[in-house]
Amino acid sequence: MDNLLTTQQMALFVARGFLRFDALVPESINDTVLAAIEAGGEQDGLLIQDSEVHSYSPGTPLSECYVDQPALRQLLDLPSVRGIIQSLVGRDPLFDHHAIHHCPPNQKTAQYIHADSIIDTRTNFDIQLMYYPHEITERMGGTRYVPGSHFRRVNEMAIARYQNIKGQQHVVCPAGTLLVMHHGIWHGGGRNQTENHRYMFKIRLNATEKQVKLWNISDLDEKSVGPKAIFDPDAYLHRDRVQTIFELPEKWFPMDESRLEIVNRIKLWRHLVGDESFDSHYWLSRLENNN
């Protein structure tokens, strides 16, 4: 399959907890979805009931969902979207839930920052597809999220006190953009300061197969070169290599936890490549030397 993610994209997802694809979804689907959301009821391609898209039982195979809502089925069947989903959670993941996130005009405040669902200690992960069927301008206050926050074990809104975190991102994007997130990432809806309604449609998916080497691994050996000794200049030169990506901290990482976050990345990568000997620099190998 040509549309699977690359090793570099997978490493970035592991390190930062998201991948963003601007204007991925064609205009025809965006227009249909947006028109249906705005109109409500049974529209061309979507079933809207009480301002929400008709749902399915959690745990339903994704292939069985949206057959009655062709606009969303077309979105999920785009080769690029299928490739993203397959690379992260396999060929036929389970539908967990979906929701239209609606921000009305002239909001006075924004949603608190939070991690979705409840505290989640798994290594395997769910993904959330956040689909923006229309352009999001800066004043529309698109989704706010904190890169690299996905490994931090917090329970939902416990972090609401954190109004701002250095490096926080605000989704400003063209129509048809897809933001793909690890389930643990800290995020919140932005404040819509315009006269227009803002919509985002989210789908959460669960893996049904081991998340091992599901992406295009043809470049895995080339991109995973190491471990290199810490302070070896060569270890930091190649920004497309897995180990180099894992060594790059986010702006907000506490000084004493940057290396713990590298350990978190290494552990998830070990899970994804099915290789418990994988390391970046020597962070885990050192601790695993029991001699």
């Binding site: 706010r144 006190r161 109004q163 701002n164 975190i165 907000w252 990482f253 713990l260 978190n264």
Partner: protein, 91 residues
Amino acid sequence: MKQRQIVMVLYSRSSALDSEVVGWATYDGTGKTFHHPGGQDEPPYNTGLEAMLDGWRVIQISQLVPPYPGTEYSTSFLPFEIVLEQLVEVE
């Protein structure tokens, strides 16, 4: 004259009060300003010490707590919190 409290919470990159601020929040007890989540991409002060030099009073800093056994490699909340206040006279 009555007094009201403005509370500012800073999160620094280390336990040192003069290390870089990476998270922040302000709650204004006078009701004159409102700080909504995500409303400010740059911190009001670069360090906790900078805020102190500007007149903010530190009322609490995080304790240094060793990790619980088994959680040594886990990360969670931002660990280094500095709570500061200003007392402001209101009508």
